[in-house]
Symmetry: C2
Subunit: 354 residues, 2 copies
DNA sequence: GTGAAAGCGCTAACAG
DNA sequence: CTGTTAGCGCTTTCAC
């Protein structure tokens, strides 16, 4: 008691219980892990152990346990940007299911920085996480390849590395984009400007763009390189401003904007607010990715919604399958989930522009 | 090589390097930890060790290291709700500074569930995190008290447990609320309705309410219990709907709404959109907590902004101070940061209601 | 200049 | 039914 104020409190260990009871650590370990009966230990002894453990407030040192067992019941989640509600929701889906199986989830954000991504993967490996779920930056795949090489359980989400036998859970970005363009076309759009993020190495962006291109061709809409504007990911606001100035200007006169993610769409809204632009009277707006605010922005925004919780759930399922089976799983799965077009107010193109 | 396909790849350990070089593990450990010169080890030997380590792609097992060292260079962050952008930004501030000092940040969300909060604290302790930063649910303080009792380094953020000698970083919620009411009063508000979250055990809510009450008194504004509406935290949308129906109805006819957090304000916007309510013509709206969308919602929303990154930075500073000094710090600090009223469009109350 | 040995806290194999 | 021994991978005396 007198020692309470100074220094570390030195947690009680297995040995403390064993000693104070005059039994061996082995016995205590067995009892505490529920293998008491299994090993035929006197139920009376078991009770004494349990009681003592509670009395001394014993908590196993998971470091020691992990070291011995070779597993930690921890899984790591590396997201590109934790402040994006997209990932927060996915994380929820993962955590719920992981918890039910006795696994803890630790989340870290790579901030779209491939260097940081590598470090985080390394960190989780060094700390012996049992598996990883990653929304990769797709800029330096060395660490991902190493995971594969080393047979380390992991699942990619959101973004996919093509042509590789790797577990992944993504949505059908191509189809989602196609449906978006269909909707715009049905509302009379003739000249749709596309806002996408650059650099364009992200599979999500690529697929959305190709879906956009295919659909504009199908509907025989205007098609020219000018209509596709790349926005540097680290200056979305300024980039979108410039892009919109151009797309809305006399030279182009686009009648609709397809924003390839929620940040781009939000920036469009911001532009509209600050420049007195009316949506959809002056221009239609459709977003890939739905976020809460699109429900009560002005106007409400039509968007391609992704099944966020489901992405998380499928990913953790895949991962647990792999972790729980001793044999390395040879066939990896690529799960592709459908998107859902949520129609609101932002795409009613008026007569004049038809 | 043939073994690559089957089973765990068995990482290379210190011993592997030592054996393949015919030296001892001790030596390898020293060299790899930069204590080579210090221990007078042949610089040639050092080079060989370093080279071999790289060749075998050696990564220290942090579990073993942590077990031996009694520290893990890991700090845990437990937030109430990871999907709230508020915490995402705070986390960023923490992570940056922590990284600079060689500490890794792991984030978990308690989802405002005190049970889960306890489990997470326990988990971080079991895994020997070196310190904790917590936005507590304030519903069951046992685990927090235990941390204190055990001299475990931790810092509370956002919410504070009053009257206790505990490290904390919060904002001046009372003053922030007061300034908010000042602003509303200056714009002609006479009858301000307050929307707050219930149950009301959160220090943030309490302080915002008391600031509100003090200021309404100062300005001699209408004051009655009816004007304060409690919204159950788990049904914000419905609760806000009912509250607004009441506050806007003939019985009360409030001319302004002070939403005590961003979720409540967002729900007000949603209500306004769905019911054709005009802000600020029909009613003024002011939010405690600023979020991005308030910049381009319709109308833009005046809000009390908090210095999010700074909260994180101060918290990690406090924590590192405590972790890095061997002697337990006796005097804990309570840091209170100022808020900032960001004036936008939602509070221009028209003449008619003055 | 270098290495042997001990031990962090835990569990599994094997004895008795 | 219970205990002994060994070892996970690392660092730290202390001895040569």
């Amino acid at each position: 008691m007198a020692a309470k104020k100074k220094g570390k409190p030195k947690k009680t260990s297995l040995a403390d219980i064993a000693n104070s009871l005059g039994v061996s650590r082995t016995l205590v370990s067995m009892v505490l892990n529920g293998r008491g009966d299994e090993n035929g230990i006197n139920s009376d002894t078991q009770k004494r152990v349990l009681a003592k453990a509670k009395e001394l407030n014993y908590k196993p040192n998971q470091l020691a346990r992990g070291l011995r067992l070779g597993r930690t019941n921890t899984i790591g989640l590396i997201v590109a940007d934790i402040s994006n509600p997209f990932y927060a929701t996915v994380a929820r889906g993962i955590e719920d299911l992981a918890g039910q199986h006795g696994f803890r989830l630790m989340v870290c954000s790579s901030d779209e920085d491939s260097q940081k991504e590598s470090e985080l993967i390394q960190m989780f490996r060094d700390r012996q996480a049992d598996g990883l779920i990653i929304s990769t930056t797709q800029q330096n795949n060395d660490e991902i390849m190493a995971l594969r090489e080393d047979n380390y359980p992991f699942v990619l989400i959101d973004r996919h590395l093509e042509g590789l036998d790797i577990n992944s859970v993504t949505v059908d970005n191509h189809l989602g984009a196609t449906q978006a363009v269909d909707h715009l076309a049905q509302n009379g759009a003739k000249k749709i400007g596309l806002l996408k993020i650059s650099p364009t190495h992200l599979s999500t962006m690529r697929d959305r763009v190709s879906g956009f291109l295919d659909a504009t061709k199908t509907h025989m809409l205007a098609s020219s390189p000018d209509l596709i504007q790349e926005i540097p990911f680290n200056r979305v606001k300024e980039g979108v401003y410039e892009a919109l100035e151009y797309l809305l200007g006399d030279e182009v006169k686009a009648d609709a904007i397809f924003a390839a993610n929620n940040n781009l769409a939000a920036a469009c809204l911001e532009y509209a607010r600050e420049n007195g632009l009316n949506i959809p009277q002056d221009i239609a707006l459709l977003s890939f990715d739905d976020v809460r605010m699109f429900k009560f922005s002005y106007p409400t925004i039509t968007a391609v919604a992704q099944p966020l919780q489901e992405i998380g759930r499928q990913a953790i399922k895949l991962l647990l399958d792999e972790i729980l089976t001793k044999e390395p799983v040879v066939t990896k799965k690529q799960i592709v989930l459908p998107t859902d077009l949520v129609i609101r107010e932002s795409c009613r193109i008026p007569e004049k522009s038809i």
